[in-house]
């Protein structure tokens, strides 16, 4: 187990390095820093001095990868790549182009994101699994056919519709919840109810359909026929055999997303003005604050890789056929 974790960490390093190179390339090589400065300073009529000054103020007046003029290790460390990209490995996010401390912002905004994402995940899981199981029980019936068609229809609706319609109907017409905003502590509940509801609704179609597929695939396996031949009742077959096996892919698919819950959801948070990481990212994109985008890309990838690791561990825990050490 420990050996496995160590190996996974080692595997993660080149991937994270690749991600860093990619964002570095996108923001520093494809675009010149002069461009960036010009844009931040307001497009046209910017003097070269102003650009230099902006670059110096943000620590961007360094060579890209290699400083031939410096001495010793400075050749490598006094570069943009070392300062701006490799620093991320130690979770030093630095300052945003707007001048704020990114690390501090991240810590502040993590929890509102989680406060939406976690209830969404749990509700979605409960609803989608029970609906999926119900459809599997009634497979081939009219209920099954219409629900599946309904799922496809729900998948075809833009998530923006759910947000807009939810906000309009529940907050504006019925006045059940505030339209948008956020508060600390338990007061947050009334603000979070609507975004959570909206997101669960938006994801339900795709999730129920996916669960149905997994259940049906499991039901058609040989060992389920053995279970029938044992004389077990339909309930016993489904609960003891099918559900247990079907939950493997379903649960592990969720484990991947667990760490990423911190990132929140972009659109929902932004629409409902929840001060989470999702809206933080959107603001950064809209303000073209590249330092924040870079940090978020790195953080997101780290969390995803962590999720993959957790998936493997949960698989080994849940499935007797998988052993980490032997792989």
């Amino acid at each position: 187990m420990t050996a496995y974790l160590c190996r996974r960490m080692l595997y993660a390093l080149p991937i994270l390095l690749g991600i860093n190179l990619l964002t570095f390339g996108l923001f520093f090589v494809v675009n010149s820093l002069d461009n960036m400065a010009r844009m931040q300073l307001g497009e046209r009529h910017v003097t070269q001095e102003a650009i230099e000054k902006w670059k110096h103020a943000h620590g961007y007046d360094l060579p890209l990868l290699w400083d031939a003029t410096a001495a010793g290790t400075d050749k490598f460390t006094r570069t943009l790549f070392y300062r701006n990209s490799l620093g991320l490995f130690t979770f030093r996010f630095g300052r945003s182009d707007g001048g704020r401390d990114i690390g501090y912002d991240l810590r502040q905004r993590m929890f509102p994101s989680l406060a939406i994402a976690l209830p969404v995940l749990l509700l979605e899981l409960a609803l989608a699994t029970s609906l999926g199981l119900m459809v599997a029980l009634l497979r081939g019936s009219y209920f099954d056919r219409w629900l599946t068609l309904g799922c496809v229809a729900a998948m075809s609706i833009s998530s923006l519709f759910f947000i807009i319609a939810g906000q309009y109907l529940i907050a504006k017409l019925l006045r059940l919840t505030p339209i948008s905003g956020y508060d600390d502590g338990f007061a947050a509940f009334k603000f979070l109810a609507l975004p959570v509801l909206v997101q669960v609704a938006a994801g339900l179609g795709a999730n129920v359909r996916w669960n149905r597929t997994v259940f049906l695939e499991e039901i058609s396996k040989d060992y389920v026929r053995t279970a029938w031949a044992k004389g077990l009742t339909e309930k016993q077959v489904l609960w003891r055999h099918v559900l247990r096996n079907a939950l493997l892919p379903l649960l592990t698919a969720i484990v991947v997303t667990l760490p990423s819950l911190f990132l929140g959801s972009l659109i929902t948070e932004s629409f409902f003005a929840v001060p989470g990481l999702g809206s933080y990212t959107i603001d950064a994109i809209q303000n073209q604050d590249f330092a924040i985008v870079r940090a978020m890309v790195f953080l997101g990838s780290c969390l995803y890789i962590l999720g993959l690791m957790l998936t493997d561990i949960s698989y080994a825990w849940a499935d007797p056929r998988v052993r980490l050490a032997a792989s």
């Binding site: 040989d222 053995t226 031949a229 044992k230 077990l232 009742t233 003891r240």
Partner: protein, 536 residues
Amino acid sequence: MSLLEIQDLVIEVGAGATATSVVAGIALQVEQGCTTVLVGESGSGKSMTALGVVRLLPAAAHITRGAICLNGQDLLQLPEHQMCDVRGARIGFVFQEPQSALNPVMKVGDQIGEVLARHLGLHGKVRRERVAELLAAVGIHDPRQRMTEYPHQFSGGMKQRVMLAIALAGEPELLIADEPTTALDVSTQAQILTLLQREQQQRGMGMLFITHDLAVAYQVADKLAVMKGGILVEAGSRAEIFSAPTQAYTKHLLAVSPRIESAVVPVSRTITTDPPLLEIKGLSVTFPIRRGFFKRVVAQFAAVNALDLSVQAGETVAVVGESGSGKTSLGRSVLRLLEASAGTVSFLGQDFFRLNPAQLRHARRDLQIVFQDPYAAMNPRLTVQQIIEEGMVSLGIGGNARARITRVEQLLNLVGLEPHFRLRFPHEFSGGQRQRISIARALAVEPKLLVCDEPTSALDVSVQAQILDLLRSLQDEMGLAYLFITHNLGVVAQIAHRVVVMHHGSIVESGTTQQVLFTPTHAYTQSLLAAVPRLP
């Protein structure tokens, strides 16, 4: 009154106008304490009948007529919840595929215990004791330990024993075994058959045994029923069917079933004493076993271990072995479809392993292969013409397109197919026809040696006999040599001049077919031969 009485059973697949009956009105009895064997080739409806008895047909199939009476009670009239009380308690079922028939994430003991809880109401310690007894009864050592293990920790034969324990747990009156040994090796098959018979006799159960293999049927049957195309062709006692069959189909089946005793030993005219066509020396094929932190190679698994073998022109050498003996790896490494780790393969004096890729492509012309699975052996998106001419095109032989068409037509004629089949696609053909096309494809580049990798084991016996006939006549006409890989000793007797027996990657015995089959010297060969079920 019989234990099980099937009357006028009709099973249809599909609905409405497209429905076809896969079982068309059969009648069948199983007596208390006796075994009735249902024999038939693929598509005869024998498995459908078995599944129909416990009402576990696939969703597309349904029973449209008939009665299935267990001790006089018509199972088809029972509501589903009562049927659940019959399955497992009064009828035990053993399926064909032990690999997939057990729940992979449930402990073996729990899978057996489930039946005890459901039908006998056993719980706790009593149940565990009973599970251990059952496992011991089906011949699993150390049952207390093994009942806490998962199916993947058991071998195929062991899984089938567990399956049997599940079927026996509810103390059924009737046991249905649907091809229970088809997926197993001969020696495991012999053990499972003995076990089945012993349990059946001890418990006085009736047994409905489904198989495609007449020899297996002969070994276990009290009564036999022969099915073909959903219809019961002939039924009777074992003695009647085997010594005095009345129907032509039964006679035909008996005639084409390969027998070891009747080895024809075809001493071919073309065998020469010249230097061998193919000479294998010290051939080893190994697969690395990786483990640990950096996935280092900690050991080598030798699929083929320092093997020597030679094939003369016009000769058939059969390589016999059970699964995992390395016979398939041998066949592929001879063609360098699998790279060997040591040894030499020389063909007509030319060292095959020293050739560069370009030379190898051309050298392969003399050496072709026919595979086991007729469905995987052909690209489903190409026409028969494209399939057969593939080798001619890539090696640049056979002239222009028009000449190739003539050649393909000739080849189709040669393997006993109509020339106009060349424009069809593989899915339009049966398994036997596909195997003929595979042979034609190999012959298109005029090889001198054909590696036949279990070419008949996916086919029905009657088709198998035709393909073996075809191979023999091709050898007579063209002087082909065969390296014939098989697990079936009966087939060996029909085709081989010489036999080598492989076990754990090495040859344990070799000699002429007569020697190996009738006077084996090595203990492994002897046990193998003893395990083969025989026809009278």
